[in-house]
Amino acid sequence: MKLHEHEAKDVFAKAGIPVPRSLLAADAEGAARAAVAIGFPCVLKAQVLRGGRGKAGLIKLVKSEGEAREVAASLFAGPHEVRKLLVEEAVAIDREVYLSITVDPASAEAVVLACAEGGVEIEELAARAPGKILRERVRLTEGLLPYRARNVAYALGLEGDIAKKVASLLEALWRVFRANDAELAEINPLFITKSGGVVAGDGKLSIDDNALFRQAGREPGRDYYDSDAAFEAAAEGIPYLQFDGDISLMCAGAGLTTVVYDLIVDEGGSVANYLEFGGPNYKKAVRAMELCLKNKPKVILIVTFGTIARADIMAEGITEAILKLKPSCPIVACIRGTGEEKAVEMLRAAGLEPLFDTEEAVRKAVTLAGAARVAGAAKGAVE
């Protein structure tokens, strides 16, 4: 679960990490009021969960109440589904650095990443000049001891009080990382101000979904998802990704579903949604099909090869879903694994022609979707 910037900064501030003064606004008028309260110049920052907000025009400096109102209005009206703006004081910056903590699977340790060039995309830098990224590994059982924080601060070329402040800020960031079961805790950029302070210019905090059960009060709401269907699927525990193509995937197994996605793209098809109802969700075929139908797909493609996710149970669910939801689009089904003989019988009884080869199923789905598109276009031309 990725937190919005303002949420991450709240967590940071509580842990003792300095953040700019700010107010949250939900509409243009509120943003204008907030800007007056914060003072000018100030920064309007769209609270959306995507990277590169600066380049996308989602962060704007404003110098007057009128400008604040105008810029806020255009941000809310833009194509990025902006629901909240963070109105933040403009900080007089001397320099910027990059700081983050994440995990290193191979060494089974956490790792602090730091760079004397803040504000850059760390991935881009990793590709371009990996030598500029400092790495300090931390054993979880040992924790980030102060000397490691000092190692980082001095390796960044900092001196005097600033080095000490950055070191103690990094210790606080470690506490955030641990207490929040974070996948990533990132401050990019960390401002070093002209007055000799350190301030988190941005904040990213991504919480491990597997640990949400012990993260009281963390429950991703609608604004953490890019569609209603994605939000509803998450509430159901069904892995789901929203796309805007023709074919709804209703598959079982993360790896298999991903490969079906690959094969569709290879065949020139396009995907409406990724949906995976395997594992603990294999009895949820009705709910899964309901979600798929929200996208008005041209085809629903069902591919499974299950072990515990029994084919017969899934086929039973699909039969029920067809009866209940009466989908108007064609369904391509390729169901294998434990109980497959019975599954095939059931699907045939429901009027489907089950296939046994994933690649064949994909080709058929793409063909049907293409035919539907042509037909739709023809129909549109006729109308």
């Binding site: 089974a108 991935e123 990793a126 996948e183 597997n210 290879d266």
Partner: protein, 302 residues
């Protein structure tokens, strides 16, 4: 000798009295696995499929020494169960738990490494050497997937493994040992760490890697091949070739962050190391044949 688990290994099952635990214990025994004891706190004295149950691992191994532990334990208790097994001196552990907290996964792997033990999983179906032994949840009764043979398989996925392995079998091969390292971002054991075992295994002629986007495990396989740690033929199939950047697709570990973890990069690394990479599951068998023949040609020439 097969990889990781064979008939003579003495397996302890943690969480044996639960639904999954008892169901799969029966199937493990059916396949030939030697299950010597089970553990569920508070249930000492019971029998599950004829296997005696103990309160703790320590009490179990005191009476019934074990080489391996199979965990049917919920994700949030998995760290405790793994540490309990490690503390009892068990060096081979498989956990199927799907949803182990990330920080605990780090601790599990760190502890295993420091004990010189091997933890397979979580988020895996486990380990199987068809016809010999199994730890996990494999439908070994689907014999068009789990047919014994001489191809090693390592995988990050479950259902995709069925898909790909079925293709391997359809091409006339069978499986020697299959290791599911699991789909988590921090698996207890990484692909490359299993390669020395496959290299040493005289029941394995070649290895199929079923990988996917995210992480660096496939690159590490390429490295082991380049360093000649592993010298048998490798055929890889990698999911997520067309996955959009920044979206977590399926497994928690399957995400491209920054430039790292793309299937493109993995494919290039594997190619450079001499592995063959299949574009679709149906190609895997054909590439295996090619790789094994190429090797035989080489052998004939030398």
């Amino acid at each position: 000798m097969s990889i990781f688990i064979d008939r003579q290994d003495r397996v302890l099952v943690q969480g044996i009295t639960g639904g999954e635990g008892s169901f799969w214990t029966k199937h493990m025994i059916d396949l030939g696995t030697t299950v010597v004891a089970g553990v569920t706190p508070g249930k000492e004295g019971q029998l599950v499929e004829g296997v005696p149950v103990f309160h703790t691992v320590r009490r179990a191994v005191a009476e019934r020494p074990a080489d391996a532990a199979m965990l049917f334990v919920p994700p949030r208790f998995t760290k405790d169960a793994v540490f309990e097994a490690l503390d009892a001196g068990i060096k081979k552990i498989v956990t199927i738990a799907d949803g182990i907290p990330l920080h605990e996964a780090l601790e599990i792997r760190a502890a295993a490494v420091s004990c010189g033990a091997r933890v397979i999983g979580g988020n895996t179906s486990g380990v199987i050497s068809p016809g010999r032994a199994m730890m996990g949840m494999f439908p070994f009764w689907i014999d068009r997937v789990y047919k014994p043979g001489r191809i090693g398989v390592m995988t990050r996925s479950g259902s995709l493994t069925n898909e790909v392995t079925a293709m391997v079998v359809r091409s006339g091969f069978g499986v020697s040992s299959l290791i599911g390292v699991g789909g988590d971002p921090v698996p207890g054991t990484r692909f490359a760490e299993m390669l020395p075992d496959f290299q040493a295994d005289d029941l394995t002629d070649a290895v199929v890697i079923i990988g996917e986007l995210g992480g660096t495990m496939e690159e590490e396989v390429a490295e082991a091949m380049r360093d000649l740690v592993f010298r048998k033929p490798v055929v890889a199939f990698l999911g997520g070739r067309n996955a959009p950047k920044g979206k977590r697709m399926g497994h928690a570990g399957a995400i491209v962050t920054g430039g790292k973890g793309t299937v493109e990069g993995k494919t290039a690394a594997l190619h450079a190391a001499g592995a063959l990479v299949a574009a679709r599951p149906s190609q895997v068998g054909e590439l295996l044949r090619e790789a094994l023949e190429g090797r035989n040609h080489k052998k004939e020439r030398t």
